[in-house]
Assembly symmetry: C2
Homo-oligomer: 404 residues x 2
């Protein structure tokens, strides 16, 4: 054997950042501790029960009875790829609403799996253009309509009912990205009759990144089963994953599980605990908390004379895009927030690069303390940059909290 000298690397000792960027969000200590539990095998009866419970909890947050509801063993982008790779066959059209970076990414992924995407170009920072979407849907032969429920790049929440209505014109499948809405804004998979939906764990669920919850309606499963070509990815093929995740008893536990891959055991422990926390708080209370802290942040931001990049009626509660005022250095402010205040805030993506800050108030990060802390720190940085706040953001937010 010829082996180089072993590198001498010191142990990690990461600081406790105030994570107010586009993700990952801060993770509750209960969830962090859950990963320190000893591992069991991926076919151990104890892990099989864990899987059953994770699925039951996921059905709760997705608001669905879909049997095929499970975490994909990768990050949110793997869930995204799983959705399009399974639901679409090569050569098949798909109408993709693009009003931000993640619609654009879906377009790229659809091309990769050999589908024929039809682009619906919409303005960044606004919702989907419904008239354009309807026209594209009517002009195409697509069976699948895609939109992003919560655009992480712009902070826009998309109403799903009108999209369902368009897809219904010819019994289409509605596919939705819920990475930044799950656990904060109601997705209502069954209520909105969404056929395929993927999410991540690291935003409003406040679980470390590494798993991607997905859910497919029974008719989506039927479409996938009727494919004439195999899914291009073995790893993400829901037909194979079903044999491991959705057992022979129909998801009620006790059936046989067929080996597919070795599931990320510790990540599933973490998701189990994070979802338990969501269930303890309750989806409605959690939504209200996200809304309240979002509103307080907006009150503070606007009091300072800064502008939100999105119109009030389309704003996400989880991801707040704040326009960077003229003359203020994006990177300098974010570096100071990180290095002096230990606060992470996100920069803009795509055409929003350098134009907005993305402030995440997600899961365990959506708190009154974090809103007040961020406004105070931002106020100081802005003043040092020569920007004169109209009024105190902290005072405005405090007044909002006192009144609401």
């Amino acid at each position: 054997m010829s082996i180089a000298d072993a590198p001498a690397i010191a142990a990690l000792n990461p600081p406790r950042r105030v994570l107010l960027g586009p993700g990952p969000s801060p993770v509750d200590d209960r969830v962090l501790r859950s990963m320190a539990a000893p591992l069991v095998g991926h076919l151990d009866p104890i892990f099989v029960r864990t899987m059953d419970e994770v699925q039951e909890l996921l059905r709760y947050v997705f608001e669905t009875n879909n049997r095929l509801t499970m975490p994909i063993s990768g990050t949110g982008s793997a869930g995204m790829e799983a959705a399009v790779a399974n639901l679409l066959e090569p050569g098949e059209e798909i109408v993709i609403c693009i009003n931000g970076y993640f619609g654009e990414r879906m377009h790229e992924m659809a091309l990769r799996v050999g589908a024929k995407p039809v682009r619906v170009e919409c303005e960044w920072g606004g919702p989907v253009d419904l008239e354009k979407t309807r026209k594209a849907w009517r002009d195409s032969n697509a069976k699948v309509l895609f939109a992003v429920h919560a655009e992480t790049s712009t902070g826009v929440l998309q109403s799903l009912e009108p999209l369902r209505e368009i897809a219904d014109e010819r019994d289409g499948f509605l596919m939705v990205d819920a990475v930044t809405s799950i656990g904060a804004h109601s997705i209502g998979i069954d209520r909105n009759r969404i056929d395929a939906c993927y999410a991540g764990t690291q935003k409003a669920l406040s679980c470390p990144p590494g798993l991607a919850p997905v859910t497919f309606s029974d008719r989506a499963v039927a479409k996938i089963k009727a494919r004439t070509t195999p899914v291009g990815s073995w790893y993400l093929d829901t037909n194979l994953l079903t044999a491991y995740w959705a057992d022979a008893s129909g998801g009620t536990g006790g059936g046989a599980r067929a080996y597919h891959h070795t599931a990320p055991i510790s990540m599933n422990y973490a998701l189990h605990e994070a979802l338990r926390i969501v269930a303890e708080e309750g989806l409605e209370a959690r939504a209200k908390r996200h809304q309240r802290n979002h509103q307080a942040l907006v009150a503070g931001v606007e009091a300072m004379g800064l502008a939100m990049a999105v119109a009030p009626e389309h704003r996400l509660w989880t991801l707040n895009a704040v326009s960077i005022p003229e003359g203020v250095d994006d990177m300098k402010v974010r570096s100071r927030l990180l290095n002096e205040f230990n606060i992470e805030v996100g920069g803009g993506l795509g055409i929003f690069k350098g134009k907005v800050w993305r402030v995440g108030l997600m899961g365990a990060g959506s708190t009154e303390n974090n809103v007040l802390l961020l406004l105070g720190a931002l106020e100081k940085c802005l003043k040092d940059e020569g920007y004169k706040p109209k009024d105190s953001g902290v005072s405005a937010a405090a007044a909002f909290y006192a009144a609401n």
Copy 2:
């Protein structure tokens, strides 16, 4: 909102199993604790340094200077798919040596990405048939030759030099599965001139499953860059991943990192700590430890009159396939080991199902204590099943340890 009642699910409290199956292996407490560290952002300078260090440590265990060395954000099977999806283009031939379940899986994955696999059928439980492989290589137009270094389904270690020699007949690319050898058997990526290699974290590296270390030679990277078709998977495309993992400074740190997906932060903490433990022990010492415990297990198994399924010269140290004696109930013995002794041992896969037990002695699980414990427990279960051990396995292993 119409939201169902939140399910009431109790906290997990997994037992500390003695994990002696085909993976996951037992994880050192240091690694478990590392995941309880608070999260930082995936573009935080602290995480970027963590990535650099993980890459440096991975180069050490792979024994390579390959710049493109990184963990894929999925389990070992995602690494497998990344290797074939990047290195092969649709319509391209690949010669696949199949002497177990994972060769078979690579065949399936190659089909999925549109490649044209040429099967080299070899006996399960033995090494690759070199004559057949040479013939298949000569008869095909394949540029890529694939084999499994450590067949987890059979316990066979494959010598890589003769395969390199065959591929060299026309400057071919050698692609290798090292899931069950990494961290125990020397892979020698540079020494053996392996062009693409993937592994998992949950076997001899004793890190929880969830990441897949991969490495590509510079000429493999050049082949991937020269593709005429895009990689079918956006998530696994090494061209995109390189912009995030291999920075502008050439992997020496300090360069810009482009956002691709949100890396699994906690899993990278775990891999960092697991690799630090490997480096502290040193690859050679670690290999010797695996060899010694394997030999002690074999001494004990054979003393009882049981047979190893693989000839001595082809045996893995990490995965020991023990033939189940006639008349002994596979599932009954494994259930007793699990429920009475808290020991996990694996069953057979594919044509070995019901015929062998797969005993993993991997990473933190490869210890004298575990060998003696397993032999004692197995001896008891076998006696209860009516099998009369020739001699005491525990005594034979103890004698081996005393002498070695």
